[in-house]
């Protein structure tokens, strides 16, 4: 009987269309940034772990991204970059560890934490049968923005990212570059203090990539924290203040570009990456032996 009651309550609570959740029901709007953002940690992960079946995707990972900083997440395929970003975005639940977004504990207050972040992946995930503007308005409502606020933000993002024709065209009809710009605009729509970018330029041509990188730089300039996962070393060198290198879900090195190059005695971040990977593999083999 208790089970029946629980199921019925769940069903009844699902049918809440008559009591439409007002926007005020959403977690508060993105947190205001402090006037001296440089010291404010907006992304914090401590001893984060996640296992899928036999695979340890993330292993005791710790990182911090401060306001106004772009931190690059660098690693080969399967290193755990996407899993880390999904954990931070609250899409996945960690097996262990603590993580917070803009000071909000992601595990305790996932909706509030999600209200403070924008997440963009290389897979644009757009609705083919909605125009760019409809897509952005839809997501703006999901973030609790009023129609007027949404339209103002869409105009601002149009200026910033040069969205142009894609706004009034079906998203499915746009080029890869236009789709990705629209996807990034969706991530920035609610002006979140934290932006998680997962290989957002992987399918873009040179011109579209430049537009996206310029957009990210401008966003960083406004005191936001950006965690930027990428394969392209030149992008990491151009954009990032610090880099976290991952292999098998573990941090093998982290620091500013200069620190990493100095420590590895290499002239480029790509060479530094190979140096740290080789060092990690060597240590791993010694431990195994």
């Amino acid at each position: 009987m208790t089970l029946l009651c629980t199921l019925w309550q769940q069903f009844a609570s699902s049918l809440t269309i008559l009591a439409v959740t007002p926007p005020s029901d959403l977690p508060s709007s993105p947190l205001p940034l402090s006037t001296s953002p440089a010291a404010q940690p907006l992304i914090t992960a401590h001893n984060l772990s996640k296992q899928f079946a036999e695979v340890q995707a993330v292993n005791k990972l710790s990182l911090t991204v401060n306001a106004g900083e772009v931190v690059g997440l660098l690693g080969p395929n399967g290193a755990g970059k996407t899993t880390t970003l999904r954990l931070l975005a609250g899409l996945l639940t960690p097996d262990d560890g603590e993580l917070s977004i803009a000071g909000v504990d992601v595990r305790k207050h996932p909706r509030k934490a999600r209200a403070n972040l924008g997440y963009v992946s290389g897979d644009t995930g757009l609705y083919d049968r909605l125009t760019g503007r409809e897509t952005l308005r839809y997501f703006a409502r999901l973030y609790g923005l009023s129609k007027r606020e949404a339209d103002a933000r869409i105009d601002a993002l149009d200026d910033q990212l040069q969205l142009g024709a894609v706004l009034d065209r079906m998203a499915g009809e746009g080029s890869s570059g236009m789709k990705q710009k629209l996807s990034i605009a969706r991530g920035m729509l609610h002006d979140p203090p934290v932006l998680l970018l997962d290989e957002v330029t992987s399918s873009l041509d040179v011109i579209a990539r430049r537009a996206v990188l310029d957009g990210v730089k401008r966003y960083r300039g406004s005191g936001r924290a950006i965690l930027y996962s990428a394969h392209t070393m030149s992008e990491i060198e151009e954009l990032c203040d610090r880099v976290v290198m991952l292999v098998h879900g573990q941090v093998i090195a982290s620091g500013s570009l200069v620190e990493l190059k100095t420590e590895s005695q290499q002239t480029s971040i790509e060479d530094a990456f190979f140096y740290f990977v080789a060092q990690h593999n060597q240590e791993h083999e010694q431990v195994s032996a």
Partner: protein, 406 residues
């Protein structure tokens, strides 16, 4: 919040031409086509065959009595002499062949006469020709019998000494619903499945495949609200399809069947009989219409919850379609139950069997035979199953292995 989520699903489906065609237009025209088409095609066929001269291959034509020959020709049959009647029918040169034995006159004198008809039982044209021949032979036999009785001084009324007076005690609504009344609930249930299918798959497996589900999950929207929105949008299209089928049915039964078909068929009795069988005389009261709509809604809710549950497990649109396809076959099972329902004593327990309950209740409503207890059991049990399925869907929407299966 849910309103925005539902609005997006509805807009997205409405912009899919295939979905609009499959969900709204086809249900609107399928029943009229079936209900109009069958009387028109078969009624027209029967009427035409009745006046069209049909050629019959006859072996032993010279042995056929003139009276019987006249009776056969009166039925619009042209008798063509042939040596091998079986082969003629087998090669489809004639729809039917008749073999008259050489000693037919002698057999007739002994009241032991036998004629052989060769025709293909499964062939409609062959069957119609056979019925013409049988009518002629019966008429010939009756005439002879009456003449024999007259000659013997016996009143021919002895042949019909006992008559059967058949009285149809079914209610007016039952009579009007026709023998095909079961088809209406069946089609309505099928339409709730096919109507909601595209939205359900697009909103679950489709979103996973496109990667758009992930982008919604990172917003502050509650996952429960997402499931509810997808469920409501699927229900909306499921019930819309079913309602379109009802509208199509009413247009055909109220206007087309009574007007168009009757005019086209010139009031042919075959067409009228066919219309009656198809439920063409049906007229529902406003309350029956409302109950039918409510029943469709409840079925659509249960089917929508089932679709969301199943489609959510798939990784892609195609995979979801392959999961859902067998559901269409499963839905045929209650129809088998519906066929034998007249042989069963239907206790309330039958009204708790998913899908069969709705089909039974809808048939009851159409025949103006629904009772309150059956309604409550049908609606209550369907909502209960719906609640269980929604709880499972909610549970699945919180499972990482379901959301991020690749």
């Amino acid at each position: 919040m849910i309103v925005h989520l539902v609005a997006k699903e509805v807009l997205s489906t409405l912009r899919d031409t295939r979905a609009v065609l499959a969900n709204l237009l086809i249900p609107l025209i399928v029943l009229p086509v079936v209900m109009l088409g069958l009387p028109l095609v078969f009624g027209g066929l029967f009427a035409r065959e009745a006046v069209t001269v049909t050629e019959v291959a006859v072996s032993g034509l010279e042995f056929l009595p003139t009276e019987l020959r006249d009776q056969l020709e009166a039925e619009a049959l042209a008798l063509i002499e042939t040596d091998d009647p079986l082969e003629q029918v087998d090669d489809d040169l004639f729809p039917l062949a008749l073999t008259v034995p050489p000693d037919f006159a002698a057999q007739l004198a002994n009241n032991q006469a036998e004629l052989t008809l060769h025709y293909k039982l499964g062939n409609l044209r062959s069957g119609l020709a056979a019925s013409k021949v049988q009518r002629a032979i019966n008429s010939f036999r009756d005439t002879r019998t009456r003449a024999t009785l007259d000659a013997a001084g016996v009143d021919a009324a002895i042949l019909t000494a006992v008559r059967i007076n058949e009285q149809d005690v079914s209610s007016e609504a039952e009579q009007r619903s026709g023998m095909m009344a079961w088809l209406i609930p069946f089609l309505m249930v099928i339409w709730t499945l096919s109507g909601g299918q595209m939205t359900a798959i697009d909103a679950t497996a489709g979103e996973k495949e496109r990667g758009s589900l992930e982008t919604v999950l990172v917003t502050p929207v509650r996952r429960r609200d997402l499931v509810t929105a997808k469920f409501l949008a699927t229900t909306l299209f499921g019930v819309s399809s079913a309602l379109m089928a009802i509208v199509g049915y009413f247009v055909s039964s109220r206007f087309l069947m009574s007007g168009l078909v009757s005019n086209l068929m010139g009031g042919s009795s075959d067409a009228q009989a066919m219309m009656g069988m198809m439920g063409g005389q049906l007229s529902l009261s406003p309350s029956a219409f409302l109950l039918l709509t409510l029943s469709s809604l409840v079925v659509a809710m249960m089917v929508a919850a089932l679709l969301i549950c199943v489609a959510m497990l798939a990784r892609s649109y195609k995979e979801a379609q392959s999961y859902i396809a067998p559901l269409g076959l499963v839905m045929i099972l209650p129809v088998v139950g519906l066929q034998v329902a007249d042989f069963l004593t239907l206790g309330l327990g039958f009204y708790a069997v998913p899908l069969l309950n709705a089909m039974l209740l809808m048939t009851d409503i159409i025949r103006a035979d629904a009772n309150l207890a059956a309604m409550f059991v049908t609606w209550g049990s369907s909502l209960f199953y719906c609640a269980i399925l929604l709880a499972i869907a909610n549970h699945n929407f919180n499972r990482e292995d379901v959301l991020f299966r690749t």
